[in-house]
Each structure stands twice: as structure tokens, then as C-alpha cells.
Amino acid sequence: MHDRLRAGLLIAPALAVFLAFFLIPLGYLAVAGGAGGYSAILTEPRFLRSLVSTLLVAAATTVITLFIATIMGLFLARVRFRGRSTLLALLTLPLAFPGVVVGYLVIMLAGRQGLVAEVSMALGGDRIVFAYSLAGLLLGYVYFSIPRTLLTLMAAAEKLDPRLEEAARSLGASPFGVLRDVLLPGMAPAIAAAGAICFATATGAFGTAFALASRIDVLPMVIYTEFTLQANLAVAAALSFLLGIATWAVLALARGASGGAAA
């Protein structure tokens, strides 16, 4: 049919670009690992360690971010106050920051000349510096995770049916009861979906760890060093491919579970 032919022609360029510059490279990546690359991953302990660290950091980030974003999301979606839209605008700025900028901001906050250091010294105590430790890394990861998660959860909070809440209150539920029995269950799908995105993004995040030159070896950093410093293409490729498959799988599951609402 005329219609189908035209549809094919219209979408062909996008598909061609996808094929040539994504699918084929991914294929190269899968293959370049080779037996050597994949076996090295399984045998050398530091890769496994790095994987575990990465997953732990991503998990911790997700838990903290969801906790923060759910509370803030519910609050901001339901309360109107002057300056709310300006606040929202400012809170979503970090969405556009590359990881390096976030890492730098963590240094601004928690580095040797950071805000926290100045404040702690001014209060008469020791200079508190934690930018380069696990705390700093987590701080950075949470920093870039909050804006996106917040937007998703705010949208979900706005879609909650106020009548369910009214029904609960008419039956005698306290505000905490309403939160526990109506609001949180109502937001559960969005929380799960946002959590999956947060986890996947944190697993693949690179710039922040790069900027913080942290002692914790997250997987993307390992991939980078293997490639650029060790010229160890096989391992880098194998790790990248596995990382790619893993994040894609997590996001695909999240999309499936939330019915395409989130990812």
C-alpha cells in the first residue's frame, strides 16, 4: 500500500543511523571482548569487586534518592506557596549538568575549601572534608539523581485521585495512615519505575567518579582506565557490553512494569 511505502521511507533514515552507528558498533563491542576479555572478567577479582561496588553505590543512591524524592515530590505536588515555580526551576537545573560538573560541585560543598569545611571550621571544630570518600561519591550520585526522580514522582503525585484520600479520611485515617495506605501505594508503580531508572543511570554514570578521582572503582571508571591507560581493549569492550546489556535490561523491565509510563 502507498501508505506503508511512504511510512517506510520516512522512518528509514532514522533506522539507518540506528543500525550503522549504534547496532553495528554494539555488535563490534560484543565480539571484541573475545574469549580473553570475558574470561578475564570472571577470573580477575578486581573486576568482580568493581562490579559489586558499582551495584552497591547504585543501590544506595537509589534508596536515598527515592526516599528524598518521594517526600519532596508529595510535598511539592500538593502544596502551593509563593516561589514554588522558581524553586522547581532551580531544582531541575542539575538535569543538564554533566557528571564532571556534579563532581566539581561536590568538591565545592565538601572539599578542602568547601562550604562544609568552612562552616565546620567556623564553628570551631575540625575541617570536615569528605568529597573524595564514599560519602562524597554518594553525594554526587544523589545530586544528579534527585532532579529527574523528583520530576517523575511529582507528576505521579499530581495524578493521585484526591477522592481516595478523602474516602480514607472520612473513614478515620490519620495523616500518617493516609500516607501509608493511600498515597504510597498509589505512587508505588511510579516509585518502582523511577527507582529502576535511577539505578540504571547510577550504574552507568561516569563523569562524577572521574571528577572526584575517587578511591572507589566504579565499573565505568574501570572500563575507562582499561581502555585509555592499559589499552586493554578486550576487557574494556567486554565490560562495556555487559554493562550496556545490564542497564538496558533494567530499564526494559521498568518500562514493562510501569506500562511505558516512566522510561
Binding site: 522512518i11 571484541a32 526551576a89 532551580l90 566539581y104 560541585l105 532532579p147 561516569f206 554493562l243 530499564l251
Partner: protein, 265 residues
């Protein structure tokens, strides 16, 4: 919510977190124009660092803008027709294609970049030119353009509008350019702003794809950080914010306009 304990706890919590997110930005901006970061604001304001950055890294800003613009043009030409096809067809094939085209977002930039190097790194002319970076940016940004346009296409009653245009005798070209495109302007604009913003801030891929002659702003920024030139790094970050903030504000304005229009229908 009643203005009880719940409200105040929520408010304090929100303000605390907001401070955490926003204050470092201001601190960084101020550091970029402070004469002596160690002394603080009392040492006075200066544009010295900004000028230093421009002298050393000015090229990166221009290259970033160039790549962002080129990415925009290409994603518009590829993404708008693709979104149109996906919006008009509901079958399994369409859904599969949609899933596929969105994949680059799910895969870490490092992996995509590595793959590109493996596949095309040997093509001499390509590897050392800014086109290599452009390719990575297009692959990454295309899904965002498509999603923004697709969202708007699905919100208008596309099939009905096209049928009405057809009933009036319009050919495909007449209705695509005369009826479809004008009514998805908001989505195209939102997608465009998104693409430019993402491209300007893209680091993970670009770090692997660049060469010393093709450095973008974020890559240069990382360079300044690692060289421990903190004042320059702050000024550099300031320049980055100066580019990004207007774009983000424009995006938010477009989205809120579209929300309003959606509600009035």
C-alpha cells in the same frame, strides 16, 4: 495537606534538600568571579578568570555550540518523520521499532563510544574530525527528540485531523506540512531544546570520542578540573551555566505553555 506537623516537616525537608542542590551552584558561580577563592568574596570580583578560560578554552565552547547545532538539525530531520510514522501506526512492528530506536538512551555513553571506536575508529578522516563526536551525539539525542515529538503527536487527535484534511482534498504533503507540523510545534520546540541541552552537556561519550583537536566544553572542563586550576575551573563552569540556564528556562516555559494549552482544549 493541613498546615500541621506534616506540612512543616515536609517544608523543612524540602528546603534543606533544595539548599543542598542549589547552593553549590551559586558557590561555583561566585567562585568563578572571585579574585581570590581562598580569601573569598572580600577579595573582590573579577573577570580575570573568565577571560583566562576564554583564552585557553574558548575553542571548546565554539565547538560545543557547533556540534549542538548540527545535532539539532540532524535529529530534527531524522526524528520528526520517524515519530510521525510511529504515531500513525499501531502494530507490533511499530512498537518494536520504537523500542529499538530508544535503546541508545539505556546504554551507557562509554559503551556506545567504545563501540563506535571499534567499528569506525580505523576510518582515518572520521576518527580525528568533529563528525565522530557528532555521530555519537546524534545517536544519543535522537530518542529524546523522537519522544518529545511523539508525545505531542499522540496528544492531538492525529488520525482525525488527517482524515479531515483528506476529506477536504489535501494530498499527503499538503496535510503533513499544513496541518500536522504546525500543530506539533510545541513538541518540536521542546525536543529541540532538549537535544541542544543534552549535546552541550554530553561528556561520557565525548571523552572517548574526542581528540586534542576536537575538545568540547565538558571535556575541556574536566581538563581544567584535573589540572587543579580551580579558579579557571569555576569560571569555566560559570560559562557552562550561562549557556545552559537560558536553555533550561526556555524548556520549562515551553512545557508549561503546552500544559496550559492542553488543559484549555
Amino acid at each position: 495537606m493541613r498546615r500541621g506537623v506534616g506540612f512543616w516537616t515536609g517544608l523543612c525537608f524540602t528546603l534543606l534538600i533544595s539548599a543542598f542542590l542549589i547552593l553549590p551552584i551559586f558557590a561555583s558561580v561566585i567562585a568563578g568571579v572571585t579574585a581570590n577563592q581562598f580569601v573569598g568574596l572580600s577579595s573582590g570580583l573579577t573577570t580575570r578568570w573568565i577571560l583566562d578560560v576564554w583564552a585557553n578554552y574558548g575553542g571548546t565552547v565554539l565547538l560545543s555550540l557547533q556540534i549542538a547545532f548540527a545535532t539539532l538539525v540532524i535529529t530534527l530531520l531524522l526524528g520528526v518523520p520517524a515519530a510521525y510514522v510511529l504515531a500513525r501506526h499501531a502494530g507490533v512492528t511499530a512498537r518494536l521499532i520504537e523500542e529499538a530506536l530508544v535503546m541508545p538512551v539505556a546504554v551507557p555513553g562509554l559503551a556506545t563510544a567504545l563501540g563506535l571506536i571499534l567499528a569506525y575508529g580505523a576510518v582515518g578522516g572520521l576518527r580525528s574530525s568533529w563528525y565522530f563526536i557528532l555521530v555519537g551525539h546524534v545517536v544519543f539525542c535522537l530518542p529524546f527528540m523522537m519522544r518529545a515529538v511523539l508525545a505531542v503527536l499522540l496528544a492531538i487527535d492525529l488520525n482525525r485531523l488527517e482524515e479531515a484534511a483528506r476529506a477536504c482534498g489535501a494530498s499527503w504533503a499538503q496535510r503533513f506540512f499544513g496541518v500536522v507540523l504546525p500543530n506539533i510545534r510545541g513538541g518540536i520546540l521542546a525536543g529541540s531544546l532538549m537535544v541542544v541541552t543534552l549535546s552541550l552537556g554530553e561528556f561520557n561519550m565525548t571523552l572517548l570520542l574526542h581528540t586534542p583537536f576536537t575538545r568540547t566544553l565538558p571535556v575541556g572542563l574536566a581538563d581544567a578540573y584535573t589540572a587543579l586550576r580551580t579558579e579557571m575551573a569555576s569560571a569555566y563552569t560559570l560559562i557552562f551555566f550561562a549557556l545552559i540556564v537560558p536553555l533550561l528556562s526556555a524548556m520549562q516555559w515551553v512545557v508549561s505553555r503546552m500544559d496550559q494549552q492542553g488543559r484549555s482544549r
